[in-house]
């Protein structure tokens, strides 16, 4: 008993470890978190998969043994208590009871017997008579002894449940692994090349495996994740995915995930077709197939590629598909494009304080651009402009490592909600041939400058110079120039003048680009000012964008892959059986109260001796005893 409670405590503590330390993460994450030394130690202790570690299983085994022994030891006496009326109680032993009463009576023994048995029956007691050695008649009665079954049920239930759990655990694999017959595969190789030691046959009695099926594809293997590797689980049939669907609520949150599956098996006359969804699995040949998650299944993509540093607004077309690669640029400068993920819906909370409703901001695409030294920058681009503080922008996030947060380039939309406006403006700002004209236009509009030709010329030159600097590295370049050539005291004033000048230039540049495309010009108002500010910020930020390419997603053909989980769990029925026993057991142990009554009729003395006992003495028992004592008094007296 003490041993069992200690085992329960150890089990509790072990379980806590398993919840505090995130289980089954990729091993690199643990190394980053703990450092090499602790990582190795924790791995030896099996802390990354506590619930499947040898020692955890050992505790469970001990618990089964200890509980079984307990059942073995206690059951005979429980059954005896359940059956017996304890009619051999002697007068002496009754006298020792804490709950007893003696009544005097004039009634005859037969009359008493009749009254008392009626009383006991009414109270739900079963009874037995016995004539004592001293000639007195004993009525021994019991009620609620079924409670004793509660103990048996509860504890057998625990053994049954743990047995079921062990059936579904990976004990067979663990033993084979220890004996050297099996090993996990840790390399990312095609399934067909996984060697037999890392494959589980169709006769494997229990498993929990995953399978990712793109639409239109079928397969007959699934993967079991183990520690930092995997095993291939072969299936006795093929599963094909016809279609995968996600439905959404009006707010954009996912409402349902559904897969149309086809089971292909030579044993079947006709393939089985069935739609599964979360909470609605399909079971075939003892293997249950669940909808567990989803992925991209190779969506095809069409991009317009902008070269951010070209002094023109020409674009190039690029097509690709998720999980495939493309190339941008040529020679040494060429970049490999790796298309990683496409999401059709993105639910983001865009309100500034995070309190508003999340909303769907449309599709995005995640890709990496890798140079010939293997260095990659990861990008995430949203297809549609997003509203931030009341204005709309195209967003593109970039980061150099997975640990970093994405930093976003915000490109303001033009009047047509496109990015051409910005791109044309950017091209004009990068085109040195346009600077003189920009400068002239500014000068023409300035009263101070246009009067004196000498001043005008000098002014125009300085504008051209400023634009040249700005085109090379944005605001940072301007700041560097100021730092180098202006005394500290005047820097702020000069900076202000330059910024003013850049924004005036931007106004002219923007309008020139609009003129060239036969679009209406920008008016001078607040909206224009904020558009120019955003455009200049975006222009400045492209120098931190990492690569010269902006991939604007134009079109896509969505193809999804369904994530299925396949399980075979022969222990389940045992666990359920145990659960039923457990509930029955607990309820009978707690809500059936065992009580015993002895009534000894002493004919010679004209007395009735009443004694009552229970294996659980509590207030209910006290109350009941007091009630019976009074009722018996009026019955006998």
């Amino acid at each position: 008993m003490r041993f069992a409670v200690s085992l329960l405590s150890v089990l509790g503590v072990a379980s806590i470890i398993g919840t505090v330390l995130k289980q089954n993460e990729p091993y690199e994450n643990y190394i980053i978190k703990f450092g090499q030394f602790w990582f190795g130690l924790f791995e030896k202790l099996g802390l990354y998969d506590v619930y499947h570690s040898g020692w955890f299983l050992l505790i469970l085994l001990f618990l089964v043994i200890s509980t079984s022994l307990c059942i073995y030891r206690n059951t005979p006496s429980m059954l005896k208590e359940w059956r017996t009326f304890k009619e051999h109680a002697t007068e002496k032993s009754l006298n020792a009871f804490s709950h007893q009463e003696t009544y005097s009576t004039n009634a005859s023994t037969d009359e008493l017997k009749q009254k008392l048995t009626q009383f006991l029956t009414a109270k739900g007691f079963k009874f037995k008579f016995r004539t004592q050695e001293d000639g007195s008649e004993l009525i021994a009665a019991k009620a609620g002894t079924h409670q004793r079954w509660g103990y048996i049920f509860t504890h057998v239930a625990m053994v049954v449940i743990l047995f079921g759990g062990l059936l579904d655990g990976n004990l067979p694999f663990k033993i084979q692994e220890m004996l050297g017959y099996k090993r996990i595969e840790t390399l990312d190789i095609p399934e067909s090349q996984v060697p037999p030691e890392s494959r589980l046959s169709i006769f494997n009695p229990s498993f929990r495996a995953n399978m990712t099926l793109p639409e239109g594809v079928s397969d007959n293997v699934a993967f079991v994740r183990v520690r930092d590797g995997y095993l291939v689980q072969e299936l006795p049939f093929r599963v094909a995915l016809k279609d995968f669907r996600i439905e959404h609520y009006a707010t954009g949150q996912p409402k349902s995930f559904e897969s149309d599956l086809v089971i292909i098996d030579p044993d079947l006359k006709e393939p089985i077709t069935k739609t599964i969804s979360v909470n609605h699995p399909l079971t075939y040949k003892g293997i249950a197939i669940y909808q567990s998650d989803f992925q991209d299944g190779g969506t095809t993509l069409n991009f317009k590629v902008w070269n951010l540093f070209a002094p023109n607004a020409e674009t190039q077309l690029l097509t690709g598909a998720i999980f495939q690669n493309g190339v941008l640029g040529e020679g040494d400068e060429a970049l490999k494009v790796e298309f990683n993920d496409f999401r059709k819906f993105n639910i983001i909370n865009m309100s500034p304080d995070g309190k508003g409703k999340p909303q769907n901001v449309g599709p995005n695409i995640t890709y990496k651009l890798r140079d010939n030294r293997g260095q990659a920058i990861e990008y995430v681009n949203y297809m549609q402009p997003m509203q931030i503080d009341g204005k709309h922008y195209f967003l593109s996030g970039m980061r150099e490592t997975v640990q970093d947060e994405f930093r976003y380039l915000r490109i303001p939309v033009d009047n047509d909600f496109g990015m051409e406006g910005f791109m044309n403006f950017r091209a004009t700002m990068l085109n040195a041939a346009k600077y003189p004209e920009i400068a002239q236009r500014i000068a023409r509009n300035s009263i101070d400058v246009k009067k004196d030709p000498a001043v005008k010329k000098q002014f125009e030159e300085s504008v051209v110079q400023l634009l040249t600097v700005f085109a090379k590295s944005g605001y940072t370049g301007v700041a560097q120039v100021i730092e180098k050539s202006v005394p500290e005291k005047e820097r702020e004033a000069v900076a202000r003048t330059y910024i003013k000048m850049v924004s005036v230039a931007a106004f002219e540049a923007y309008n020139m680009s609009l003129e060239a495309n036969n679009k209406p010009l920008l008016p001078s108002n607040g909206d224009t000012e904020s558009l120019l500010r955003d455009s200049l910020n975006a222009f400045s930020d492209i120098f931190f964008f990492g690569t010269p390419y902006y991939l604007q997603l134009e079109q896509f053909e969505h193809k999804e892959a369904s994530g299925l989980q396949l399980t075979k769990s022969p222990g389940q029925k045992w666990v359920y059986l145990g659960s039923v026993l457990l509930v029955l057991g607990i309820f009978s142990m707690m809500y059936i109260r065992e009580r015993r009554i002895w009534l000894s009729l002493r004919p010679g003395k004209q007395q009735v001796h009443f004694a009552m006992a229970s294996n659980r003495k509590n207030l209910d028992f006290e109350k009941e005893f007091n009630l019976y004592r009074e009722q018996l008094r009026s019955l006998i007296g």
Binding site: M1, A4, V5, L8, S9, L11, G12, S15, I16, G18, T19, V20, K22, Q23, V50, Y51, Q118, F119, A122, K123, G165, D168, R208, Y249, A250, T251, Q253, P254, K255, S256, F257, S277, V278, N279, H280, A288, Y290, S292, K355, K357, Q565, L566, T567, S569, Q572, V575, Y576, S579, L582, V583, I586, F587, M590, R616, N618, L619, D620, Q631, S634, L635
Partner: protein, 380 residues
């Protein structure tokens, strides 16, 4: 010779009066009405739960008349409130009675207010040893429960007004189950209060409930948690309707036991001893509510396992919530063993059940705050 029959106890059915039958009739008429009106939203299991709930409400109402009155009042006020909505969500802020009394948000706010008042009154009653104040406190608690249930029923209806596919029973996120927790804990307490006539414990039990109220208020005003959200696919299952309530009977009963334990420990030290029930009564009550909690928690965990088997592909995944449920369960199993097998009584067990509340709270709240897992709903 009629006196021989005096000790005859009537069975439940024999003891029923015509009012009790009428009550059951109304409850069943109500559920048939609900069935006729809303059966298109229910599957076969949910229909059986509806009538099962009616049977349960009848049975409990027969055993405990106070509960019967509550069921009727909740039904009548909810139907009235729903009729005021008249199919438009906007009415909640336009119609006077809804806006200030029985729209789901207002009713829940009233629940908060009444729980706070009830607690203050219970303590006042204990301090003054005033029977009258004790009765007022009880009445306040009953009213809080009434408003809380009305709030939940109306919220259920409101969720369907947002969009038929959004509609769902309001026990699906942390905000909603906290309300459920307050209501169940209060009901369990009221039951024992009536049975054992122990109004002195109200102040203690309402401490936990008001802690929950505080949390709900913070969660409402800081996180806007009262907004009705659609259900993620994993939660769209009839299992939720039985798994969650069973769990919360467990949590409620464990909390009740912990508060009784607190009273026990004080009384044991002589503090408030003259105002509190005797140690025996407290001990008995603590055992009873742990027993009830344990039974329901067992059922809830089993139901959870069955649901997991259907939704996640395995009856046990060692998901943090599951694992903590197991820890809570093991904790109380050990408690029961010590009491039943070793015959242990007294302060040690009281301390244990008080600490049990910390473990339970972590399973209930801490897991959502600090650990991640498949129970993805209800993060803070």
């Amino acid at each position: 010779m009629n006196n021989s029959l005096e000790y005859q106890q009537k069975t439940l059915l024999q003891s029923l009066r015509w009012q009790d039958w009428l009550y059951a009739l109304i409850v069943f008429a109500g559920s048939i009405f609900a069935y006729v009106k809303y059966s298109q939203y229910m599957d076969i299991y949910e229909v059986s739960f509806l009538f099962g709930a009616a049977a349960l409400a009848s049975y409990l109402g027969w055993k405990w008349k106070g509960l019967g009155k509550l069921v009727l009042a909740v039904g009548i006020i909810s139907v009235f409130s729903i009729s005021l909505y008249d199919g438009e969500q906007a009415k909640a802020t336009q119609v006077f009675l809804l806006k200030f009394l029985i729209s789901s948000q207002s009713a829940i706010m009233w629940m908060h207010v009444l729980f706070v008042l009830a607690m203050v009154t219970y303590w006042f009653a204990m301090y003054k040893r005033s029977d009258f104040a004790g009765k007022v406190a009880s009445a306040l608690t009953w009213s809080a429960v009434l408003f809380g249930f009305v709030g939940l029923m109306v919220r259920w209806y409101e969720s369907y007004l947002i969009a038929p596919d959004v509609g769902h029973i309001p026990i699906s996120n942390l905000y909603e189950v906290f309300i459920l927790f307050c209501l169940i804990t209060a009901l369990l307490y009221l039951h024992y209060e009536q049975k054992l006539n122990t109004k002195q414990l109200g102040g203690f039990v309402l401490l936990v409930i008001n802690a929950a109220v505080g949390f709900i208020l913070w969660y409402t005003f800081d996180r806007q948690a009262h907004n009705i959200q659609p259900l993620v696919p994993a939660l769209q299952s009839y299992w939720m309707k039985i798994h969650v309530p069973a769990n919360f009977v467990g949590y409620g009963a464990f909390s009740l036991a912990a508060m009784v334990a607190a009273a026990y420990l004080l009384a044991d030290k002589g503090i408030l001893a003259s105002r509190l029930p005797s140690l025996d009564v407290l001990d008995d009550l603590m055992y009873k509510s742990i027993a009830v909690g344990f039974a329901f928690f067992t059922i809830a965990t089993i139901l959870g396992a069955m649901w997991a088997a259907e939704a996640w592909g395995g009856y046990w995944s060692w998901d943090p919530k599951e694992t903590w449920a197991l820890i809570v369960w093991l904790n109380y199993a050990a408690w029961l063993h010590l009491r039943m097998v070793k015959g242990l009584r007294g302060p040690l067990l009281a301390w244990w059940s008080l600490i049990g509340l910390l473990i339970t709270t972590f399973a209930f709240l801490g897991v959502n705050m600090f650990l991640s897992g498949l129970h993805s709903y209800g993060t803070l």
